[in-house]
Amino acid sequence: MQRSGLKPMRGELIWVWVFLGPTLIGLLFGTLGPVLAAIGISFTDWDVITPPIFAGLDNYKRLAGDPTFSKALVNTIYYVGIMVPVSTVLALLFAFLLNQKLRAVTWYRTAYFLPVVSSTVAVALVWSWIYAKDFGLLNFLLRQMGVDPIGWLSSTTWAMPAVIIMGIWGNLGAGIVIFLAGLQSIPETYYEAASVDGANSIQRFLRITVPLITPSLFFYFIITMIDAFQTFESIYIMTRGGPVNSTTTIVYYIYRNGFRNFKMGYASSQAIILFLVIMVLTLVYWRLQERWVVYDV
């Protein structure tokens, strides 16, 4: 890290405040303040209209006994547990394929990247049309293969897989671009030197490609996981958490409690739990990164 820089001269220190002013306001009133407030609100009963009532740990006790919250927790882990590994493996596979100096690489990259830039709302609308039970495209294709139509978004069994499939589809492009950048940043000379020293292609793959791609791998994995924990839009558009809460995730449940039922205290306690989960994941990531990842390019 570069620690040098310009030392403001007499009378110039004011510029530091000018440059940092907006950010400091944001840090105080946009982030740190609200986080403390959220912790405070989580100990109250508050509908925003009438004054808050102190409730102690009641919200947290209620969470422990709320079957919908446990369901939301399980659903979130289901979503994250399938979506993140599958999209990581697929993105890695496609990035390896694209890294072979094939023709039309930019075309492929554009195609894979399209879902990443498109609004989830628009894309989720198309997917609900594709998933439609009676005249949806997917069931048509399945019928061609002799499979009976599935109520993708109306069945408690299939709604979550349907949401996951769309999640993978929408995230793949970002992973491919990150992995491709990682693969292309490995200097060709490493492979050449290893070949001169007699390393075969398996050895080159295991000793050069794998260690040098792990930073990108870890990075994508954790970013996607945090993102997946916060999935909201696709669920809002496609299922509204249904049928029978089968796709209600923590974030959707927070939205429902806070902004549908105006139980701000209860919603805040759920948000705090989500915060703790994400914080633990991030810390685990940092520790693992120190141990496993080789930063030596």
Binding site: I41, L97, W127, I130, E233
Partner: protein
């Protein structure tokens, strides 16, 4: 399986071009093997690309169909007749023109706010020396870990107390508060600009503002472009914030307008797909013209909100 002669041979061909960890003994069979792997790779990549693009084609195709035609199977990918009326019908069924203007306004202001405040903070964090710099920067970066939903409720209560709920203000004013992501991205870029430039400008009598304005801002074009594109895209595609803060029909953005449309006209797929096309088209146009910055930005930061 590998002899030492093969290993030396491999130095002449590019080792990266072989995907599979086996090699045949002669030069010709290496060529053959490469051709087989390339063909196979193309096959896999093409089927992947079809899955990626198909929903978009389906969206486009449905948006040009006569309402009854959506239930015709096998599906007509190119509808006959092509029905243009879905677009004007969608546009008048709800005030989509208004939604469009709202989205442009909010995403535009958000982008300006982030560019200005993040570049200033990034400049202070990378160039100016002051006490507590490292601590403040770490604090800012640590806030990236805080999920959005945690600050959502207190922020909503704050905005409702000052009477901003029901206006566009909560959707763009916070962009003028800086942001950890943009500051981080620009700081990384500023650190690659040699400090000598600033120092010699300093000796020539340039003020700190001039160094920022005439050296750092002009030199950071690509990073600024990446940040601008991401900010615009996130704001344009955002659903949760407009959902919480605006309810009046003429205040809706395109995303929440579409979701409102879905509630009102559920099942009218031709109209909904026309609306979906209109809402993603501007971002797709930007994407095609500025793809380089999108890709660089993703590769640099990987962030997708």
């Amino acid at each position: 399986m590998m002899s030492s002669t093969n290993a030396t041979q491999a130095t002449t061909s590019s080792p990266k071009q072989s995907l599979f960890p086996f090699q045949l003994s002669t030069w010709q069979s290496q060529r053959l093997q490469q051709r087989v792997t390339h063909t196979l790779s193309h096959l896999i990549l093409i089927s992947g690309a079809v899955v990626m693009v198909l929903p978009f084609l389906w969206m486009l195709s449905t948006s040009f169909k006569a309402p009854g035609k959506t239930f015709v199977y096998p599906p007509e990918w190119i509808p006959a007749p092509i029905v243009w009326e879905n677009y004007p019908n969608m546009w008048t069924a709800l005030p989509f023109g208004k939604f469009f203007i709202n989205s442009v306004k909010i995403a535009g202001l958000t982008t300006i706010g982030q560019l200005v405040t993040c570049s200033m903070a990034a400049f202070a964090f990378s160039i100016l020396k002051f006490r507590g710099r490292e601590f403040l920067f770490l604090l800012l970066i640590a806030t990236l870990m805080i999920p959005y939903q945690v600050t959502l409720i207190p922020t909503f209560i704050l905005f409702s107390k000052i009477g901003w709920v029901g206006t566009h203000l909560p959707l763009w004013v916070p962009a003028f508060w800086g942001g950890a992501f943009g500051t981080f991205l620009l700081r990384q870029f500023y650190l690659t600009i040699p400090i000598d430039l600033a120092e010699s400008a300093r000796i020539d009598g340039a003020s700190i503002w001039q160094i920022f304005r005439y050296i750092y801002v002009p030199l950071s074009g690509p990073a600024m472009a990446a940040l601008a594109i991401f900010t615009f895209m996130w704001s344009w595609n955002d659903l949760l914030n407009p959902l919480i803060y605006v309810a009046e029909l003429d205040q809706l953005t395109l995303t929440i307008g579409l979701s409102f449309f879905q509630n009102q006209y559920g099942g009218k797929w031709t109209l909904m797909m026309a609306g979906a096309v209109v809402s993603i088209l501007p971002i797709l146009v930007i994407f095609f013209f500025a793809q380089k910055y999108f890709i660089q930005g993703i590769a640099m930061t990987g962030l997708k909100r």
